[in-house]
Each structure stands twice: as C-alpha cells, then as structure tokens.
Symmetry: C2
Subunit: 502 residues, 2 copies
C-alpha cells in the first residue's frame, strides 16, 4: 500500500502557494478573447461560494468561455502552468463542490447555455452544460416530453452541475438519477483533449466512462456538451397523503410499499416538527396531530394511477395509517407538495440558521435512524426537523442552530457528522444527492477503506495526473483521514454505538 501511496498523485494534498497571479492572468489573456477573463477582486467576489455559503474563497481568476476551443485553451494553459481549475455551473450545489481554489481559476460554464438539438422522435436532447435543468423540460413540453430528474433547485441549477453531482430529485425513485437519464457526455480533460463517452445506444463498448464522469464532482474532466434522455409526460398524477401516530410505523409503511412491488413516482416523509413548521407557512392542510406523514405520488394513464393508488391505500391501511387522503384534483395535489417543497424555507423561518444533511440508509432502517436523531437532539441540545425522500432512503434532517450563539455551529456540525456516520454504519452512505464536495470529505474516511480510497486516487490520476481539477474535494487524502482519526466502518467492522454488532 505504501508503494501505491507514493505512486498515486493526489494522495498527498498539493501546495499551490508558489503560483504567481500575474503570470497566470498573462498566460490566459494570450489565449482568450476580451470579455472572457476576469481577475479584478470585485469581479471575482460573486464567485466566492456556491450554495454552501459557510465556505468562501476568492479565486485567482474567473473565466467565462463561450466555445469549446476556449475551454481547451484554458485547460491547456492551466495544465502547463500547474494551476488548479474549478468548474462551476449555477453554483446551487449544497456541498461546496464549486468552492473556488484561492490559487486557482474558476471556470464558469454559464455561457454554454444553448439547447443544441432536440429530437422528439428519439426522445433526446443535446444541450450545453450551462442550460438550466427546467429549461430542458420547457423546451421539450410542446412534444409532450420532459427531463425527469428534478432537484429542488431545478429552476436555477444547470445540467452540467447535475452531471457533476449525479443530481436526483423527488421523482428519482421511479425515473432514476442523472446517470440514468444521460446518453452521452462530451468533455475536455485537464490536458486539453476533447473526449466523448456514451452514445445513443443502450450500452457502449469499452469501460463505462459516461457513468464514471457522472457524479465525479468536476474532478475528472470539464463537460462541454450532454445528450439527455427525455421522458413522456404522464397523462395523470395523483398524490396520497397518509398520517401516522408513530414515526417508526410510518418508516415501516415506506418499506412495505416498496416490498409490495410498487414504485411510486415520489414517496416522501415528514415528521411532526416538519409539518408544524411548514403548515403555518404554506397551509398545505397537513394533519398536525400526526407524528409523521407520507406523501406518495402515482403517475401514468388514468387506469394505471387508479390501480396503483388502490394498492398503495391497501398497504397503508395494513401498515396502520390513521388517515389517508387522495388528492381530488391538480390544485389539491399541488397543495400537498407545496408543504413538502416549503420545508427548507420553513426551517429558515424557525431558526436563524439550519444545517441540511443528506445521508442515505436502507429503507427498513428509517425507524432506527429517527430514534437515534431524537437521542442526538437531547445530546447536542439542538432541534432537528426531518424531511426524507423516504422511498429511496435519502434523509434530509435539518438541524436548527444559531451561529451567533457561541458553540452552536460546532454542535450542529458534530450532530451532522454523527448522523452521517450512523448512516454508514446502518449500511447506507454519507450523501444521497448533494455530493461530498468540501463539506463531507472527512466522512469519506468512514465510508471507504484505504484500499478503496487509493483506488479512487488512481482513477483520478488516470484523468488528471497532476491533480489540478477541483483539488481538495470529494476524495480525502490518506493523510487527512489519518488526522481525522475515524475508522472505516462500512461492512460493520466498527459498529456504531446505536446499532447492534452485525
């Protein structure tokens, strides 16, 4: 293993402090037209953070290329000078994946905002990375089609960022993550080579570098074009709201729905503090006496929806739901969802600050996680409201704190870290859809063994031998993990105190 460590670039964190800003700016100016390169402090400031605003850093320069040739020129120049490059879409990411490097270039793809081609017959769209997620669905709408993955930031977030994070959304249980809705990516390596992976067929020969690129958090290449799959719009969607007098029972109902062979278009869970928080904000009509509610959506033809909802109702009744309502029209369906979608802003109204977690656990362990979170609330002296993409086991506990109260932020971070480590110990992961970025890099030490992390570094080095693309993100160095001092717990070798040894 020591030999591997020495071999794989990126295993050691690199020191870029000797880079000279003037030299970098001069080299970029030689290869880029006027208006693409920015380096004055006031121009750089808007790029200092993404959606995780707790981390901020001003880059050396920002480039806003308009063509693939300019992207090649930027990457080739940075490669020659050994300058870090951080690619950025709309900057809506929640894990700091687009946090600039202080000695690096921030490469914004905002101007790559063209839908190149939309083929309703083949149900595909070729788009540039800076196209907004929702803009694809808008362009496809006249053909009765849409782009299925729908992260809650879909009004603003761009497809390039979706590829980098393998974005999901409320409907990914049925329609898949970004990786399941992509057919092809075109990109540029740090050395300036243009490559394409995937194609319009169901499978491609060679290693699956399309899947490898997806969710790689900007660390392997810079995407310049994407072909996405479009999905026919369902004729009808209806939503079931079910109330439970016990959170564990609600969690078990989620597992029972899936075990019955039903794959709902969405299956969300909120606990009582969450429904209380949103109800006074949006008046969704949620039953406030319920300890937890489930929202279960069905879509398809009217016949399919009727049949599926009958089966869902049967499972919910058997699981002990105290109340079941089915949306009677589109207005009521939208109202059911309005509450769920308002959960984050509602948390923002209840508390000066909140910290959104993103762990994922096997569905059948939802109850255990909820009990543990209750224990942690007491332990850390902080409130937590729970909003889950329950169908796929993806949790968004929102830890409420006040950063102006001494020690609260630290307690919130420790609370969050414990949730993530329990997620891993329960057989899950530290991130469902928000990515690792800078935020969850320490928890990667718990998720993966040294051999596995070393393999990640070697794959990184296969694309970016000098470690210039988004350095310091997503994959922790062996050194960092040693300092962090947590052991790898996947596979159950080091059980968490909350769960029995397995």
């Amino acid at each position: 293993m020591m030999e591997i460590e020495a071999q794989a670039p990126g295993v050691q964190e690199r020191d870029f402090s000797a880079l000279d800003k003037a030299r970098v700016v001069e080299a970029l100016a030689r290869v880029l037209p006027v208006g693409v390169l920015m380096f004055e402090n006031e121009d750089l400031r808007p790029y200092e953070c993404d959606g995780l605003a707790a981390y901020r850093s001003v880059p050396m320069a920002v480039v806003l290329p308009t063509t693939e040739e300019q992207v090649v020129a930027v990457l080739r120049t940075c490669s020659e000078l050994g300058v870090p490059v951080v690619a950025r879409g709309a900057g809506t990411g929640l894990s700091g994946g687009a946090l600039p490097h202080p000695q690096g270039v921030l490469l914004s793809l905002a101007r790559f905002n063209r839908i190149v081609h939309l083929d309703p017959h083949a149900r595909t769209a070729v788009v540039q990375p800076g196209v907004r997620n929702l803009a694809i669905s808008e362009a496809a709408a006249p053909h009765g089609l849409y782009y299925a993955p729908d992260p809650s930031s879909q009004i603003a977030c761009t497809i390039g960022g979706n590829v980098a994070e393998n974005a999901g959304g409320v409907h990914c249980l049925k329609y898949g993550l970004t990786v399941h809705n992509l057919m092809r990516v075109r990109g540029v390596t740090i050395e300036g080579e243009v490559v394409e992976f995937g194609n319009h067929a169901l499978d491609a020969p060679g290693y699956d570098l399309l899947a490898l690129m997806t969710g790689s958090e900007g660390m392997l290449a810079v995407v310049t074009e994407v072909t996405v799959r479009l999905t026919p719009k369902p004729q009808l969607a209806q939503c079931v709201l079910a109330a439970f007098d016990d959170v564990i029972r609600a969690g078990d109902a989620v597992a029972a729905i899936i075990a019955a062979g039903i794959i709902p278009a969405g299956l969300e869970m909120m606990d009582q503090p969450a429904t209380a928080a949103v109800e006074e904000f949006v008046h969704a009509g949620y039953p406030l006496d319920a300890k937890a509610i489930l929202l279960c959506e069905s879509d398809g033809t009217p016949e399919e929806v009727a049949e599926e909802i009958a089966r869902v109702r049967e499972v919910l009744e058997r699981s002990g739901a105290t109340e079941i309502r089915v949306s009677r029209d589109e207005a009521e369906r939208m109202r059911f969802w309005a509450g769920r979608k308002a959960a984050f802003p509602a948390a923002g109204r209840m508390s000066p600050d909140y910290y959104c977690m993103d762990g994922t656990i096997p569905r059948k362990r939802l109850g255990e996680m909820l009990s543990a979170i209750q224990r942690m609330e007491t332990e850390y002296g902080l409130r937590c409201i729970n909003v889950f993409h329950a169908g796929d086991g993806n949790l968004h506990p929102l830890i409420l704190f006040d950063a102006n109260q001494a020690g609260e932020m630290e307690r919130a971070e420790a609370f969050g870290a414990e949730i993530l480590e329990l997620s891993v110990a329960l057989g899950g992961t530290i991130t469902g859809e928000h990515g690792v970025g800078i935020e969850k890099i320490n928890q990667m030490c718990s998720q993966f063994s040294v051999a596995e992390r070393t393999q990640f570094f070697r794959v990184k080095a296969a694309f970016d031998p000098a470690g210039l693309l988004n350095p310091g993100k997503a994959i922790p160095t062996l050194h960092r993990c040693a300092e962090y001092g947590r052991l790898h717990v996947s596979g159950g070798a080091v059980p968490h105190p909350d769960i029995p040894r397995f």
Copy 2:
C-alpha cells in the same frame, strides 16, 4: 499524446514469452490447497475457449478457488511473478472475452456458486459470481420476484460473467442492463486488495466504480460477490405479433412505438429469411409471406397490459402492419417467443457455420442498415438472416457460411466487420451486449479516437498498472489500431460510403 503513450502501461502489447510454467505452478502450489490448481494438459483443454470457439488457446494453469482468500492468494502471486490472469464464469460469452492467455492463469469462478442472502423485503440478493443467472430468479420465485436481465444463455451463464459483459436480454429495454440491476460488487484487484463499490442506496459518494467495473470484461478486478436488485414478477404478460410487407416499414414502426412513449417489455424484429428458418424448425405460426415481423410484449397488471396493447395496436395500424395478432393465452405467447428464441439454432440447421454480429444503431436507422445488409449479401456472396432486439436498436445479423469452403470464413469476417463499421457510422456501437473481447477489438479503433482509447488505458492502469488482467482484450493498443489502418469514424468525420455525410 506521445508522452501519454509512453506513460500508460498497456498501451504497448506486452510480451510474456519469458514466463516459466514450472515456476508459476510451483508458486501457486505453495499458496493453494490441493484440488484448486490444475496444470496437466488434459485438465486445461476444457478451458481453451469460451462461446466464441473460433479462437482457442490453452492456458499455463487453471485455478478453481473456493474462497476469496484463495482468489487474493492467486492474484497476489500472479502479480508478483508478472503472470497474466483471465477470469472466467460459465464460458458462454460470444466475443472471446474469456479466451485464456497461453502464458497465463485461467481463474474459474465456477465454485463461487452460493446465493449468500436473499432479502425479499429489500428486494435484493447477495450472490457469488459463479451463480447462474436463472438460479437467482428460481431462488426469488417463491417471493414473487425475479432477476430481470435475461440473456438468452441465462440457463448456463453466471452473474460474474454478466457483470463482466454488462449482459442484457430480451427485456432490457424496459428493465435495464446488468448495470441497472446491480447495487454492489465486491472484488479483488490484481495486487490482491479487496474492494467494494456501490451499496444498498440509490447513489454512492465517490466515483461510480460500480458502473466502471460493470462491462469491464475482466480487465479491472476479479469479482467475488455481487448484490443484485430483484424485480416483482408482473401479474400478466401478453405478446403482439405484427406482420409487415416491407422491412423498412417494420423498422419505422419500432421507432414509432418508442416515440409514442410506450416502453414494451420486449420489442423484437425478424426478417423473412429468419422467420422461414425458424418456422420449419419450431412451428411458431409466423406469417411466412411477411417481409418482417415484430414481437412486442407488454407486462404489468391486467389493466396496464390491456391499455398498453391498445396503444401498441393503434401505432402498428398507423405504421402499416398487414396483420396484428395478440397472444390469447400463455401457451400462444410462449409459441410466439419460441420462434424468436430458436433463431440461433435454426441458423445452425441451415448452414454449417454462422457468425453472429452484435452492433447497435439508433432505432430510426434500422431501415438503412437492413438495406445495406442486403447489398453486402450480394457483395460477399453470403446469406444473412436478421434477428434484432429492435426496441433498443441492437442487431444480431447471423451471417451464414461454411468454414470448409475456402475463403468463406474470411468473407464472413469481412462482412461482419463492415456491418460493425456501418453501425458506428450510423451513430451506434460495435457491440450491444456481447462485449468486445478479442473478436471486435479492431473495430474499437473505428469507435474511439486516440484520446479516448488513451483514456481507457489510463483507467486500466489505475486498477492494473502492470496490465496483467485479461491482456490483449477489449481495448486495442494504439499500435494495433495503426496496423489495422482504419480511422475513427465516430462523430461523422469519416462517413461510411452507405450514408450521406452528416
């Protein structure tokens, strides 16, 4: 690029001729119990080929380990001595992916044949790689579940081989390829490190090495355990048989079904020579005057099936079908499929030898491909019968020849190569589900650019720096492509004579 070439191991084909068999056997004997290692010629002979019997090679030794520790010991020993290792499942592959290396060790996973755990609640099964594809469905059947990917070799082929080839099947249009039905793989690197990628959640942090391993044709690691997703058995399946008096029209009907937003459980096409060949063999009741037939399967609840079949019928009528039959019962449905499934044996009855191709093209270009194949039949003086997984554009033209007639095998190979290159030129790929192996390695030069192939090599080197796992397969060396002399045509730079410049 020259610098990359020099750096990336595996870019040059390695020479293993200096390896001494006695030394390799002695080293393996020291780390393995009796009964695991074979090296006498008569014991090696059964392993000399896989399903592509035209290529044969006797390995230096065969190992049949029973535990992961033994796999680690074999790989560590081979790694230290620099000995090539070829992993093998049931050997049903059709591209020579499990062809032994004459100076290498053949590692059979036949004894890894245990279903470790089946969880009907979570709808998952943990299985060893030597478990047969169909055995998983059999074990899941009492719970109303099955394993969806169903390659036609599913009685014999094993899940380890399915992972290596990213196997598909008749139902993959709706239910996905192997990669879409996998949750986790555990494997051993050539250096003997045990690694796990993926987990029981919908997504995993870090690079998607689970997807990267899938379809990597045994070149990145040796799989020792797999967690697969299980699918609920549909309540009902019905099959529509549609006849057309023109193959192009049949091809267009396929595209129209998909464009209408219908995703059938299976969508197959056979041309008149294919139906004639199977009809006298299995009496499926196919209309023999039709130039082509489609088989379109629908599954789900009775309501879903009825609704979908009504829509399929409507599209088929609009597309000019001359006859439409819907299976009235399970016996008739099985008879419709019996003909399709007998296509390969029927080809075997018609001709002393046949060569099965596996190109994939965009659905809307099916008609063009069929016209071109007709032209090639005349050009090469050989007959070709066409059986297509039409729904996903995966073609299985069966070129009939007699290896005992001088020149026929060479003509069949050239015919096949031209089909594959046309597949790439039409925007498709050289393999849909059978893998590249040794058979299609030259066509990889047409499919990928030098930059892309170099990237493949670097990924390979990230797992296997010395190039010992399955050397000479799947990814051609730059040198081989230079010798082969064909240009990269993806992206349309070098159009095929059959298609307009695009």
